[in-house]
């Protein structure tokens, strides 16, 4: 049976309005009788928890960090899109909708994307009112810039720290509710299982990371805003603690996992420098506005960049994509960098990097202009690499940055498990196979401030949940499951550290399920992963106990989940016999090496059902219909 997205039909402009009107409401006086659990305090979780509390619900909110202000949304640099058309440059809700559907390579749901574009307007207003110090013009009006190749200026920003400022807005709104006693906050607490009773999500099992105490929390509904799963690759631009445990364990309790192979690789990151490397740092893609990307024409050219004359350089993006040049979308730029490095023309000690050169821009504009535009990024580069990018070109390489896949949700942001809502990067809904720049912040806040607080009322109003307490067998079973995993990890008493396994898995995934994929490679990975996982459980070495702050134990549980998720990602990538957005299968490309979609066969959301570790998962499909934006090949030539 195809999955029902519950998207309303009719004219797309009025779908959200009509849908909202059709939803049931909860009497304000009754809201306080209902408890809602929110896991995660990033832009999605933080804004949802604050807003639900404002509405009058009893909210319990959880994060693994020491404070809700630390969620990884904080690291977003560039900005947030909104179709305000303040510049009178032809922007509109419809254009933002169109750009997002096309940018997602026609693998997202039109209804959701249109709603996102509509709500983008309210987000900016809300954040300004909260005191987010967006950049202003001298007149006092909000400033905008164009970003990520968009042809209109619709990106609002707060220096290079837009994510931080938006998150602080949501965090302060949340703290206000905590201070008022409307939200019970549990920092340094990790969700380790979902409690499902009669097919409905009714609570979560958590572990207090300081004391190790395992506890259950019951509620009328559970909201997951726990972010993406990019850390399956070990090295990514995600924070070290970012993990998939909450969504993966919900998946194991019945929630469908959609499009796991849709991962985004960001082209401008600082390359890996050695085996000790613990994470990768993103450099804003705005650098490509003035930097020129090149590699030597000759293989293994060992000369310093300054000694290589122009005629021996290959400005490969400008050569292959004359009209977009260095500003091609993220997936295209990343894939081309990999291609030239695979040819042996990569630069730097490892050969896994390309030059991003500002020499011409400095000549043309003068150093002061470059300092003003990119000074903080140049400083960051120098801080990390010890090299001065004003003198020699930067070396950059693509890195895993964002995951478009996630738990499947309908138009109400509810998963197939009634009562389980999934918001922000943790769900799959709005970005299709590729996310455009400055859209992640928009989606997180749209979900948390404006969509979920409307749709969840309908579920609460129309559902009569049974009273239950911590003695319920489903609660006991989930707690036992959690304790059992902890015990197994501690009792393995093997020989290798958690990190060493995580690195090994990451390397394998990067190699076979990274920037480009082949059926042979994916099949190889699908043989390797179960063997590696089996060895992990037998041989992992976790010291200490479960009754204290034990950072190795925390990591071990997350890596155990990554091992299972990795297998699903490879399987999904193998089943999707086409190239689209961030998913590039080498077998499916146009004669000139571009991604070749197969709309006849793969215009659907692949939603996977868990059927036991090591068992093949079940595939359910949600067909995608494009009534407004008609699928065409993306061309940046």
């Amino acid at each position: 049976m195809p999955l029902d997205s519950k998207s309303p039909g009719g004219p797309i402009e009025t779908r959200w309005d009509r849908h909202r009107f059709s939803l049931k409401l909860v009497n304000p006086a009754n809201k306080r009788k209902h408890t809602i659990i929110v896991v995660g305090t990033g832009l999605a979780g933080g804004s949802a928890a604050a807003t639900l509390a404002e509405l009058g619900y009893q909210v319990k909110c959880f994060c693994f960090q020491d404070s809700p202000r630390r969620a990884h949304s904080i690291a977003a640099q560039g900005g947030i899109n909104a179709a305000k058309n303040y510049h009178n440059d032809g922007d509109s809700v419809y254009r933002l909708f169109y750009d997002t559907v096309k940018g997602g390579d026609f693998r997202s749901r039109e209804s959701n994307v249109y709603r996102l574009a509509q709500i983008s307007l309210n987000i900016i207003d809300q954040c300004v009112a909260q005191g987010v110090p967006f950049a202003r013009e001298y007149s006092g009006y909000l400033d905008n810039r164009s970003f990520g190749g968009a042809q209109v200026s619709r990106t609002f920003y707060a220096r290079g720290q837009t994510g931080q400022q938006l998150l602080l807005g949501a965090y302060q709104a949340l703290e206000r509710q905590i201070g008022a006693g409307a939200v019970e906050m549990y920092p340094r607490t990790e969700m380790l299982d979902l409690i499902v009773v009669d097919g409905r999500a009714r609570g979560i099992v958590t572990r207090n990371l300081l004391t190790g105490k395992v506890e259950s929390h019951l509620a009328d509904a559970v909201v997951l805003g726990t972010g993406g799963y990019g850390n399956v690759y070990y090295l990514s631009t995600n924070a070290k603690g970012s993990n998939a445990t909450a969504i993966w364990r919900a998946h194991k309790r019945g929630a469908l996992f959609a499009n796991p192979c849709f991962t985004q690789i960001h082209p401008t990151c600082i390359p890996v420098s050695g085996d000790y490397q613990s994470k990768l740092t993103l450099m804003s893609e705005s650098l490509r506005n003035d930097g020129r990307v090149w590699v030597p024409k000759k293989k293994g050219d060992a000369r310093k960049p300054g000694e290589i004359p122009k005629e021996d350089r290959d400005y490969y993006l400008e050569r292959r994509y004359p009209s977009f040049g260095n500003l091609v979308p993220r997936d295209v730029a990343s894939r081309n960098a990999k291609m030239v490095c695979d040819e042996g023309r990569g630069v730097g000690e490892t050969g896994l990097a390309v030059y991003l050169d500002f020499h011409d821009a400095i000549q043309r504009l003068g150093k002061p202009v470059i300092v003003e535009r990119y000074g903080n990024l140049f400083d960051m580069y120098e801080r990390i690499t010890g090299e001065d990018p004003y003198q020699a070109p930067m070396r950059i390489f693509p890195a895993i940055h964002y995951t478009m896949g996630g738990l499947w949700v309908d138009y109400n942001l509810m998963s197939n498990l009634p009562g389980l809502y999934v918001i922000g990067e943790a769900n799959f809904s709005d970005h299709g196979a590729n996310r455009l720049g400055a859209s992640a912040l928009m989606q997180g806040l749209a979900d948390g401030y404006f969509v979920l607080p409307n749709t969840i009322n309908d579920y609460i109003a129309s559902t009569k949940v049974e009273k239950m307490d911590a003695g319920h067998p489903a609660v006991k079973e989930a707690e036992q499951q959690v304790n059992c995993v902890t015990r197994r990890l501690l009792e393995a008493k093997g020989t290798r550290t958690v990190d060493s396994y995580h690195r090994e898995l990451g390397k394998l995934m990067w190699e076979y399920c990274g920037m480009s994929r082949t059926a042979t490679g994916l099949k190889h990975a699908l043989e390797e992963i179960p063997a590696m996982r089996e060895q992990f459980w037998r041989d992992v070495k976790v010291l200490g106990t479960g009754e204290e702050l034990n950072q190795s134990l925390e990591k071990a549980g997350r890596v155990a989940d990554f091992f299972e998720l990795a297998e699903l990602m490879c399987l999904d990538a193998l089943e999707r016999n086409e190239s689209c957005g961030g998913h590039f299968r080498e077998e499916y490309q146009t004669p000139d090496g571009e991604a070749a979609r197969n709309d006849d066969r793969f215009s659907y959301v692949a939603a996977w059902e868990f059927r036991g570790v090591g068992n093949p998962p079940g595939l359910q499909q949600e067909p995608l219909a494009f009534e407004y934006v008609h699928p065409a090949q993306r061309s940046y030539k």
Binding site: P133, R136, I178
Partner: protein, 254 residues
Amino acid sequence: MRIVLHIWRQANAAAAGRMVRYELPNVNTHMSFLEMLDILNEDLIGRGEDPVAFDHDCREGICGMCGCMVNGVAHGPLPGTTLCQLHMRHFKDGDELYLEPWRARAFPVVKDLVVDRSAFDRLIAAGGFISVATGSAPDGNAILVPKENADRSMDAAACIGCGACVAMCPNASASLFMGAKLAHLGLLPQGQPERDRRVMAMEAQANRELFGSCTNIGECEAVCPKDIKLEVIARMNRDFLHANWIGRGGLKGD
């Protein structure tokens, strides 16, 4: 290069702590400080010893989770830099480094280099916000904000809440942290209606948390990884005086 670390090891809040010496014979100069601690921990686990607990998350200097004292200086010797962004090329072969957790009564030690900074969250919960319910906002351009105000507000809003200011202050005062939040919100028109209440509520909460008072020493500014300026404290003091005046029967605008 060779680095000798002396690290504060403390099993939990109740246990007694002590400095323990570790020698790292092969530290790569390109490593970050935290990557060096990762290597140490991998090594300790290999030998069956408890790894050093330390807080960290984004490792790009923005989440504010990391930090410890390095030779008595919060976040180490490089100005304007969090511990995670400090690279080993700034040290010399044979250097001996003493690592201790943040030192402040309001930040009790949890384990090793990990401290409890929840007092900062309670300061924000007391008043560090603008009370606006979702959905009630006017258009973003309805209230104009002079660019200079927006820029200075952003300077203050850059605070990452790491706690280095408190750790470095001989009085363990949270004035730089509070001043930054009060300046961030107080420089914007949206922050005006609650300006007096905000400073009074945060000040009262700081006393309850046992943060010390400010005596204008300036150590906080010197170690702040985001270069928050001491003038935010002056602003806070002025706001506090004004709010007291209002509290005694004065009116806004008096």
